[in-house]
Symmetry: C2
Subunit: 321 residues, 2 copies
Amino acid sequence: MKAIILADPSDKTSLTLAEVPTPTPAPGEALVKVCAAGVNRGDLLQAAGHYPPPPGASEIMGLECAGIITDPGTTKFSQGDRVACLLAGGGYAEYVAVPEGQLMPLPEGYSFAEAASIVEVACTVWSNLVMLAGLHEGQTLLIHGGAGGIGTFAIQLAKALGCTVAVTAGSAEKLEACRRLGADILINYREDDFAEVMKNKADVILDIIGAKYLDANIRALAMDGHLVIIGLQGGIKGELNIARLLSKRGSISATALRARDLEDKARIVADTVEHVWPLLAAGTVTHQIHATFPLSDAASAHAALASGEVTGKVILAVAES
Amino acid sequence: MKAIILADPSDKTSLTLAEVPTPTPAPGEALVKVCAAGVNRGDLLQAAGHYPPPPGASEIMGLECAGIITDPGTTKFSQGDRVACLLAGGGYAEYVAVPEGQLMPLPEGYSFAEAASIVEVACTVWSNLVMLAGLHEGQTLLIHGGAGGIGTFAIQLAKALGCTVAVTAGSAEKLEACRRLGADILINYREDDFAEVMKNKADVILDIIGAKYLDANIRALAMDGHLVIIGLQGGIKGELNIARLLSKRGSISATALRARDLEDKARIVADTVEHVWPLLAAGTVTHQIHATFPLSDAASAHAALASGEVTGKVILAVAES
């Protein structure tokens, strides 16, 4: 089969379509013909050598896709089933082997590209905001990077839950995009201090920045607030004022989806399909595709996401459905 | 009535018995004649001017007591009921007004002094280890200060839950006391690096140190581990390595009981009585009274707790039962 490899492992832009062995599904896995794959920041990190696949996972990039089952193996699925897939790797390819617990039906009315665009964000946002932080109606959520793939999804999901949503972004255009999706409080981080605007107000914070925002995030937390860190774009080490955290009875969690074990992923996938798929089918939460590139031009897809000028997801089209 | 006041507010050792107004119970409160009161580190901090009572609470020290209801007010309790009480303040006195949700029956077979010795620790340990961190059978708990009031209780409770228990303490004598209570892994922090001994092993950590142990605690956390900070004896600001926390999908919470609202306290008290009182009645978890002083000698009680040489709780005897 064809798949994207790094022609020069030391050059993160050398993404090249090459002939590689088609994967053999292990027991409990199905073989899926990939129609579309999502591009994530984790793929950019992997290309740069900073985010190796967990043990046992494919060495190929690609953390989500949608396609057609060609060999269901021992799973409950059937040949020809159209599925969305949460992957530990392997999506940038014509075929991928997927554990049963990470196979989902397509959301009703969704194309392969649309489905591939929401797997990682839906599982990430649902598992962190609701399963971990317990976000619920009447609470206030602060989202950093509101215009990104995670952010645009989180805004809509939190509004669907009945929350007040604050976002940070770096331009008026991005903030306007957030507003259109339902965000209530728009903060341009180049002009305003989000810690001041949101002081003691955020019940939950979804953060992709890490160290640079750590102290400001604690200032923004409300009583019993929960800071959930899912990215480290602003560095890894920061000073934590534990007395301030304690004065709010606050919690900090730092999480990632990729290295979770199969059971954990299956639990998250099942809960996400149960609660988020109906919102997708109803259009309450919509997909946000920024651009689609052919698999052979994965390099341009990575460049687009790396530019920071993306509102929504970048997709690789792999096969015609 | 008589109560302990600071004769010289600038001198934390000037604890003196004085005549003060007897409190008037507000609606939903009962008046309790105090028979015994527990001494907590929070009282030491309050005497030193660092831990003011929350708004509306008594200015008098004392976060827990046991005694007899003299005026049940509108509560479901009756005059003459023997009760243990979780307090936001006011225990170092002959009478205290207590919200209904913070009144508990005495554990079966317990004296007033014994009951007064376990209210704060039972509610603190249960709410943090089980209600917050979800500690359960088969997990490993690391307790810092294993020989203190919190530590001795946490060891026994965690063993009752079926956990492996590791403790740190500063002397062989204290570690031996922990071992007798059931601790499995004994770490003398003056000789050994607990982060090395417990590296990646602790599902839950109960910490009273704060900043000084922050990085080492993150090193000790297991996958999906939860660090719960309930004291800041080792400082308030520390460097947090968020990447390390993320690699373990770890969580950090910092909590305190005193400033919680009435509803929250009532929820914690009810859950603690339901789950911990039977363990006390059965003797599975025992009280640990280190010394008892008369109320008039609260200064000596504070000096004893401040010395760091205490194994278990310090109690003030207020009235004969």
